[in-house]
Amino acid sequence: MTVRVQTEDFDVGFELNQLRHVRKDTGAIVSFVGQVRDLNDGDTVTRLTLEHYPGMTEKALEGIINQAKTRWNFFDALIIHRVGSLKPTDQIVLVAVSGAHRVEAFKACEFIMDFLKTEAPFWKKEVTQDGERWLEAKQSDDLARERWAKTIA
């Protein structure tokens, strides 16, 4: 399990290649890349600042991977999340999960993203043509997380 919080960009190709070589019986790697959109709620975004809570962030992300481990059989998981000042089309986050088969890897990756969105201490502030604004938490993200309470696996 690897969790990194960093200001630098990351190389998705390199990271996925590392992950898929952890075990020779790996059959599936599912990944999610999140990036800064140039549009949000109809407004043009010029910058995005990401703040976090050092110490708690890493612990929260590791806890989310461990929760996923109790639900599905997968081999390894990686989370890289950037903080600091970003611009549109910059990468924000990479979540990748490797496993023997695809169904578990898909579920675990989606689960990790849904919990990261609602439990990991990151906060986004956008700069738009109207000035700066803190992003509001979305109800759709809470609902996405609640889906997992209703399913056994």
Partner: protein
């Protein structure tokens, strides 16, 4: 009792505080300190603090890097944090 408090995002920006060390007399209040009681104590500092901690903004609390609810107990040496709902990813 001594605790450390961190503020993040909109709270940090508006309160103009990112962290503070708070010392409280070891009385009955301190013995029974919770997230909600600490919010109420801090809210007495000014209208802005009142608005930020007990206003419309939903404020989440963490103790020693764990998300907790308003009734969670705070003890000597704890690291407490207040922040708005998270928006990462």
């Amino acid at each position: 009792m001594k605790i450390k408090i961190f503020y993040f995002a909109r709270l940090k920006e508006t309160l103009k505080f990112s962290t503070e060390d708070l010392e409280l007399p070891d009385d009955a209040f301190a013995q029974a300190l919770t997230i909600l009681k600490l919010k109420a104590l801090l809210a007495k500092r000014s209208d802005v603090w009142q608005q930020m901690l007990l206003g419309k903004l939903k404020v989440r609390g963490a103790i020693n890097h764990e998300l907790v609810d308003d009734n969670a107990k705070i003890v000597d040496g704890d690291e407490v944090a207040f922040f708005p709902p998270v928006t990462g990813g």
